[in-house]
Subunit: 246 residues, 4 copies
Amino acid sequence: MAEVWRSGITNDGPDSNGGQVRGVQMTELMEKYSFADALLLTVFGDSFSTGQKRVIEAFLSGMVDHGIGTSSARAARLVASTGADHSAALAAGLLAAGGPRHGGAVGKAAAYFEALDKDATSAEEIVARAIETKERIPGFGHAVMKDGDPRATMLQQIAEQEGVSGATLAFATAMEAEFEARKGKKLPLNVDGTFAALLVDFGIPAEKAGVFFLIARTPGLIAHILEEHEREGKLRRLEYDEYSFE
Amino acid sequence: MAEVWRSGITNDGPDSNGGQVRGVQMTELMEKYSFADALLLTVFGDSFSTGQKRVIEAFLSGMVDHGIGTSSARAARLVASTGADHSAALAAGLLAAGGPRHGGAVGKAAAYFEALDKDATSAEEIVARAIETKERIPGFGHAVMKDGDPRATMLQQIAEQEGVSGATLAFATAMEAEFEARKGKKLPLNVDGTFAALLVDFGIPAEKAGVFFLIARTPGLIAHILEEHEREGKLRRLEYDEYSFE
Amino acid sequence: MAEVWRSGITNDGPDSNGGQVRGVQMTELMEKYSFADALLLTVFGDSFSTGQKRVIEAFLSGMVDHGIGTSSARAARLVASTGADHSAALAAGLLAAGGPRHGGAVGKAAAYFEALDKDATSAEEIVARAIETKERIPGFGHAVMKDGDPRATMLQQIAEQEGVSGATLAFATAMEAEFEARKGKKLPLNVDGTFAALLVDFGIPAEKAGVFFLIARTPGLIAHILEEHEREGKLRRLEYDEYSFE
Amino acid sequence: MAEVWRSGITNDGPDSNGGQVRGVQMTELMEKYSFADALLLTVFGDSFSTGQKRVIEAFLSGMVDHGIGTSSARAARLVASTGADHSAALAAGLLAAGGPRHGGAVGKAAAYFEALDKDATSAEEIVARAIETKERIPGFGHAVMKDGDPRATMLQQIAEQEGVSGATLAFATAMEAEFEARKGKKLPLNVDGTFAALLVDFGIPAEKAGVFFLIARTPGLIAHILEEHEREGKLRRLEYDEYSFE
């Protein structure tokens, strides 16, 4: 018995005329599809409206990099500094980017919103309880941008313009308002939380929500790898006064 | 002395208003940049003309997946079948995609064309010698598409339409014609060879040529990982009659 | 403020005379320590008795490989077939080996035994309930070795010889006996379950239990990578009749 | 046609009584083989004498970790800090460890010694030319241990004790002596160079020489991953004053 290797994604068989992805000729993808449209077709089939695609592309474009201070950029650059291949350094960066405390944030927030029974509870109730129990709700707050993340605001604007904002995002922004009302200071819905709420509104299961960040950040990690080679070009090794044995 | 972590890619400092990539606000990236434009800006800065960007985006869209028969898709799916995280399976797939015999093809072809002294030699001379010595020239031929890869043709068409085709691609297609004239059968310039020639024409160093494929294939690998979970969902392990001890 | 890089594992500072691991000179490790002793010292410090170390080394030696049918060996070989570096192929193999359905088995069984309140329940009770609810208990059963895994038996023998078998393994074997008594057929405690029970007896937290398998399997994966290069040496790509588009 | 999955490493078939590695029952590996002997059998079959095995085991034990300042330990810890799985962090560490400027040192030195035609040249000649051309010879010198690496000395002692030191190591130490004679200061044969020379004497091809370091360092990386979780336990992200946008 032979192992089963079957797929409905890409037909690259001898009669596929160069290959089709989800029924679209690859040559047509090349001629007529933006990369964002091509990749959404590949990963999710024909699942999204034009407006939803615009929101997702905005997230992809806005999350393409977040600087050298991130653990993913540094993991990638450390591996690149050893002279390893681009793909090896990229793999290391993505292994960091996938971690629950890093790029896993969208997925965690999506799981939270997905599990929320919006009919049986209210933003007021949830926020009151969270303040009481000091529960940390995923998708809210930012280590640095205490007054709100401009990327979150932009994503909400685009979703509204496109008319694709739904009940989950409405609930999430109601929670944000309630936090401010009760505490007198902001606990802003961040960009991960905003995008997570929108994905739930778009019908994407929370377990798939993390893949957008992995796609978005791949080019940023590659930018860091190329920059490490060009600007540094030697093995990173801490000097004796930069670490301690204790 | 503290280790040097410096970067010119992204400014995400406290006065960056949510962050800037290569001097462009992230919110502007979200609002106005396609993902393809955002990623090219991130990785290469402002290096490309609009026409060149269209060619590169066509390559990205056309290479987004090539089916479950590839070693990268299968490596990713094998790891996914163990129940590992998306990022772990993606990393495994990219480690395969970066291999010299897989996605390394564009880089090898680019290195070949970059090293070619087009003034000191001719397509005729090179092809004559290659036929004599049975040298295998990177970027030519395809295991299956013996009569030519429609994706290569499409990429050439777009490059011509956009007026960004240059001396390297002209040399490469002259080599293709010369092969056919001398052998009476095609040894087509494939999609990797076409793209490699164009990258050399665009001034991209061969050592960076491989990164486009890594970016392009990331979504395809993710599509396979999600499909593996949805359609298979259990550990892949060969049955005793599927492998042999010898 | 500089990032904190501190460690109590290895002192390799300028006055360490070539380096010390957990207080032992590296030259002494070389001269007097077996690799198993050196690695246990490195990972766990001075945590184990001689008898416990013998049990762990038996596990390491017995788990060094489990054939080409495993998903980890195949992921490693697929990556190796692309011509990627040894470390890239090894990383892919380990990403598979770490998956919950593959090498994660020891960790899952250890978590199960760790959580078990052996004073408040009995093997009889647990097995009766598991049979009723058809709950699958980690560490029991084997896809192929229905009558028991000789590796599990050997590990139990060595633990008994060394006098390091404790209450958790006793409980686990009582469960095994109870299963057979009630069902009239074996549901053997497998090698993962046996080792997991012993680790709990040795005081190793379940969250660390998975690392032994990663260490043990690294050489096996490397053996497969070298064999792939020597015996196959070309890109693995499925033929059209080996996969389907559906 | 089914893909070929064949292997001569491990027979785990239904009639293998629990499995055999290179013809040895796994239960026998567990009962009678040290982990070092089991792993050498797995990777290299019956290739080594007892004395050679002792030298290799000394290398494995001595290279098990080299502190938190290495790029591999830090890549692993960065990934661990994101909350990723042990295997993900380990994979990142090994991708660094495999880099040409890091663990690739043994392989480079082995390739150098393998290519050396010891009959047609002499240590004097090579050193004279290297000094003249300022060529950097792999396997010599150390960033910090200018007077010699005690680990190299120990490895040479063990090789001599065991009577397995051969012509390549003799040539390498002659080069070391010649350097000192000509320059008046040491350029010591380091531990990588010593081990590389011995591997060439043992008949191991240079392309396989790098795998010992990957095996040796796996436990050290795991030790760092566990320590990162226990002592740090939160996402590593640089503060604004720890990196710069420039």
